[in-house]
Symmetry: C2
Subunit: 419 residues, 2 copies
């Protein structure tokens, strides 16, 4: 027996229905905001990802050589591919350019609940505008996607990396130290942060100050802190402007957070994350912000921002909230009782199908009772039982599979009876 | 500048719209026939594909090792993964089991028009029934998918591999010779067929006989041929039965063909192909039939059949027929003329979006004329121009971007005006 590769999943029909429900509402929401869908290849030149994230990423991704010796990699995320595509093909398009996507991504991770080696991301990139209103709209879009699918328990956190960067610089925490420190901030591991900064001989008072800063979530207190440190306030005013626009975009519930790190190499300015607290350790379901990648990829620099939603986790979070996904049951199962009526049964089934009514028919020739059992097991809503004698009088039996109620109806009126 | 890997594609918004149109109608058609959607991983253990198609396939696919030394491969097709999934997870489900899928597949091919290294397949597998009526229904489903998207110029060919196999056996063309011969038959390369058979010392009359047989497309003539050769006629009667059911399933236009080969290692019995002649060399857009894979993959044998549609080629074929794909234009572009009205403009835009009306808004603060130019360039249907003075009187201007007609309407009636 063959098994699927470790860390990957087979999606069974019931789960697929849930995923298609979420995907369709995400798509509708992206479109309602004026975004347009695109698709990039499943693999890219490895260099694209090392240029963005450094050589270290090779350890975490599926990298391989093709038969011509090219270094390729299964994409670990979609922002780099989309910006690569923009630079290659879309630079001349009118701005702002609003693009969204769905796609499989791949990471060579230790598999665990809510964390797979192949996972789906939904996301978007906004190219060519970075006014506070535009960033508020972007945040609103991510929030709208998640709210529109019916997710209730979510926390939106917004920060500004320029403020964090200025504080780190001021405290003398250089690039080298940041490389170790930032992932610890990202994971909110304060014990390890203190340990690390002490090992790097940062003064106890500066360590305290940094930790105090990271935990601030009130914009006035952040302003005071920034002022005390003697830093410029433009990043703070920018953050203030962005959040002042949020209520206009129907986002009334958010927190300010200085703990958001993301990828400090290319994220700049506004960043945001959405968590579904019910998911525990893997609670982050969305992350985004402003970033700079275009010039790195050889394009003419314009402002860029975007976000990605962890599709699989969102489905888990909805399930966790006991959300009732719409079911896609089979509407009718047609059962020809004798072989003589098979042709009529087929033609009725095809008529139903053409009307868009999901219908199936027994073509195994098995007994009525076995067919009824099957109709039941696949959760068909109705069974249409076609017997020779009834049919000679132009009638068929329609059975409601839930109530067991049976009615003899005119063949011509079957559709009206069912719909 | 980074480029996408050779043989892969970026799908731009305009092309994506076309693909989504086709995908949605395929999905609706599959569902109307009682099929349910599934998804398998993008890569599988390499062994799965060599077990099905032999070691030779390694040359044609993306095979690689993961960091634990596992041999993996990007899937070149979806039947093996789906059957692997069935054996692993779905054997106990009630039969027949009707599954459909969409997915990227990968082949290390020389790129050419209509042939990419990453391509999309749509398809289905029917597990647990192989009556003639069920096979006719399967053929009808493939035909319905293609007809429902609006494709006109198609040729459906149906054959039976058991007949071909019996003829080859009778003429003394053994497995070894078949390995070279069958791909030549598949490509209808009759010159090379003659050359090869003569090099293998098959008598001239037997070569003539085989070629005569392969070109037969009349079922009565095929029957006479089979009879003359002294072969059993059950496969022929089976084929007759299948085609007798096709008109009931709304398939009235098809050809019988003995030239269909597919993968003779696992295909057995009924096979079929659909061609879009306008596509030239890459005209095959669908292939399917009955096959045996379950026991090879360690499962309890039940009958299986299915088909796969070359999604990319279907889109090309539709384009070639000049098909008018539905457009997904932006319905409204909102332009706040002064910054004072930005908040009102945002709120109106959000109201439109919540009503499901794809709407965008200028958040760059640029001039009215520049915004109008942008609205025009993105093909927005309407522009809503919001000026301070009008708004004080509760009015906004709605401009039909096509006709240029402008109307001053009540803010509360904007939605009615647009829809």
């Amino acid at each position: 027996m063959f098994q699927r590769p470790r860390g990957t999943r087979d999606i069974l029909p019931e789960d697929m229905d849930k995923r298609k429900y979420v995907e369709e509402i995400f798509r509708r929401t992206f479109k309602s905001f004026g975004y347009r869908e695109i698709q990039t290849p499943t693999f890219e030149h490895l260099e694209l990802f090392t240029a963005k994230s450094g050589e270290g990423i090779i350890e975490e991704i599926y990298a391989f050589k093709d038969k011509s010796g090219r270094d390729l990699a299964l994409r670990p995320e979609l922002t780099a591919p989309v910006i690569r595509m923009y630079v290659e093909k879309m630079q001349m398009q009118p701005k702002p350019l609003k693009l969204f996507y769905f796609g499989s991504c791949f990471r060579y991770d230790r598999p665990q609940k809510g964390r797979y080696r192949e996972f789906t991301q939904a996301g978007c990139e906004l190219i060519g505008v970075n006014t506070p209103a535009a960033l508020a709209e972007l945040i609103s879009l991510s929030w709208s996607c998640l709210r529109n699918i019916g997710l209730k328990n979510m926390v939106l956190k917004i920060g500004n990396l320029d403020i964090l960067q200025a504080v780190l610089d001021k405290l003398g925490i250089g690039k080298e130290m940041q490389r170790t420190l930032l992932p610890l901030i990202d994971k909110r591991e304060y014990g390890k942060i203190e340990e690390f900064l002490s090992s790097e001989a940062l003064s106890h008072s500066d360590t305290e100050r940094l930790i105090h800063f990271l935990k601030l979530d009130n914009i006035d207190e952040i302003e005071s802190f920034v002022q005390e440190l003697g830093l410029r306030k433009d990043s703070l005013s920018h953050l203030r402007k962005v959040i002042s626009f949020l209520p206009m975009f129907d986002v009334n519930d958010f927190k300010i957070s200085m703990e958001i790190v993301r990828g400090l190499e290319y994220y700049k300015g506004i960043v945001f994350e959405i968590e579904a607290p019910s998911l525990g350790a893997e609670k982050q379901i969305c992350g985004g912000g402003s970033y700079e990648l275009i010039s790195l990829f050889g394009g003419k620099n314009v402002s860029t921002s975007g976000f990605a939603i962890g599709f699989d986790r969102v489905v888990l979070a909805l399930e966790g909230e006991g959300f009732k996904f719409p079911s896609s049951k089979l509407k009718t199962y047609v059962i020809p009782v004798e072989e003589d009526v098979l042709s009529n049964a087929i033609q009725l089934t095809m008529k139903l199908r053409k009307r868009g009514i999901a219908s199936d028919i027994d073509l195994t020739g098995r007994s009525l009772s076995k067919s009824m059992k099957y109709a039941n097991s696949i959760n068909a809503e109705n069974a249409i039982i076609i017997g020779k004698k009834d049919l000679e009088e132009g009638k068929v039996t329609v059975r409601d599979m839930k109530t067991g109620e049976q009615r003899l109806v005119d063949v011509d009126k079957v559709i009206d009876t069912i719909v």
